[in-house]
């Protein structure tokens, strides 16, 4: 394969990954690594470097829109970014010491969880949450736009959210993904933020988390320009298209199909990891 063909194929695959990732809310980054390693036979380290870059691009692009619409809770995001950046630094450091096959197995498990979590997206009640001392002290309580106008909400259990966010950061730095599913777990389940606020704030934070580990991956020589170029551009264009289609589409069937595909990729990553094929 010459450079043009290789670039075009990788760009096309990345476009599809970005499109489906945006449409289903799973994010494009999570599919890029299995696609590059399993389909194109790319070394796991190069794949993680390229995925990390694409994650920054999509999250920053999408975050711009959500922040403007007033969904994201900037204070919650900012505070939890302390946890995710420290986590990302730990994860990137950990990546040096773990064997590629171990990283692949962890990747597969996280992938399985992400696919599972995308089914469980049911908004919980945000009413009747009592104010929390720490959250109040940190001015975290806010309001967000709904069909009935602005609704206020109280933020709960900040320390637990912080701890889960640290883990999300470690996974992001280790695997080159946004770990949106784990971030949503921290905010939606632990801190009881409204679901829409959790997902948009998670998106808002992903860029900073990924930037923290991307700097390290770049200086370590894991980010190859010839590979990162089609991946970044492909995922970016794909996710923009996906976000546009999402506005009117019914995505339930698609989400199921996509989750099954991701589940299969996850199993293959775990199998190859155990078989030592990385």
């Amino acid at each position: 394969m010459n450079t043009l063909e290789l670039t075009a194929w990788i760009a096309l695959g990345s476009l599809l990954a970005g499109f489906l990732g945006a449409l289903t809310g799973l994010g494009g980054g999570v599919v890029i690594v299995p696609m590059l390693t399993l389909l194109f036979g790319v070394d796991l380290r190069y794949a993680i470097g390229a995925a990390l870059v694409s994650v920054i691009a999509t999250s920053s692009g999408a975050a711009a829109a959500y922040v403007r619409d007033g969904y994201s809770n900037i204070r919650v995001g900012m505070f939890l970014e302390i946890a995710t950046t420290i986590g990302a630094l730990s994860g990137a450091a950990l990546a040096l010491y773990l064997r590629a096959s171990i990283i692949a197995i962890i990747f597969g498990v996280v992938l399985l969880y992400s696919a599972y979590a995308s089914f469980r997206q049911q908004p919980h009640a945000t009413e009747n949450q009592a104010p929390d001392k720490l959250a109040t002290w940190l001015h975290m309580d806010s309001a967000y736009p709904t069909a009935n106008g602005l609704e206020t909400y109280h933020v709960r259990r900040v320390p637990l959210g912080f701890l889960i966010m640290y883990i999300a950061g470690v996974l992001s730095g280790l695997l080159g993904i946004g770990s949106g599913a784990v971030k949503v777990l921290a905010m939606d389940q632990a801190m009881k933020l409204p679901f829409k606020v959790s997902t948009t704030t998670s998106n808002f934070m992903i860029g900073v988390t990924a930037a923290a580990s991307a700097g390290i991956y770049l200086s370590r020589g894991y980010i190859d320009p010839g590979l990162a170029m089609p991946v970044m551009l492909g995922v970016l264009v794909g996710s923009l298209l996906g976000a546009r289609v999402l506005a009117g589409a019914k995505v339930k069937t698609l989400r199921i199909v996509f989750s099954v595909v991701i589940g299969a990729l996850a199993v293959e990553m775990i199998y190859n990891g155990i078989a030592g094929k990385f």
Partner: protein
């Protein structure tokens, strides 16, 4: 839960409203920072990509085996030198550096926004996040 039904006092209500209004302006500017950063980075990567593909008909890297990038593609100094020589790969790396800088610029912008709002706790929080980001960006680039 409507804002009216929370049983907040009127002063608290006004504070929240003022707070949200201020946040809205900040949010819009922040969105602009993020969007333009991604756009400039993507354009730089695309230009570098065209130069790279045009000049190298055969792939330079065997992606099946990890070798790691040469110094000129993984240090800022090296990347800037490559850009001045108008090398495609150097241009792509510059675009990726700009992309990595976008969330960092957003955090730097937050420091300013929280200073403006006199929210000292969050000035401290955002300065800490910014310091962590700078640490990760510059610790490997000695």
């Amino acid at each position: 839960m409507n804002a009216q039904s929370t049983g907040q006092t009127n002063t608290e209500q006004t504070n929240l409203q003022a707070h949200l209004q201020m946040d809205k302006r900040v949010d819009q500017l922040m969105g602009l920072v993020l969007r333009s950063g991604v756009l400039i980075a993507a354009a730089t990567v695309a230009i570098g990509g065209i130069v790279f593909v045009a000049r190298h008909p055969e792939p330079l890297t065997n992606y099946h085996v990890f070798q790691g990038e040469p110094a000129e593609l993984r240090t800022m100094k090296g990347i800037f030198a490559e850009v001045l020589a108008f090398h495609g790969r150097g241009l792509i790396q510059l675009g990726l550096l700009l992309l990595i800088a976008t969330p960092v610029a957003r955090v730097a912008f937050s420091v300013g926004a929280f200073l403006y709002e006199r929210d000292w706790k969050y000035v401290a929080v955002s300065v800490l996040v910014l310091a962590l980001l700078f640490y990760s960006l510059f610790s490997g680039h000695s």
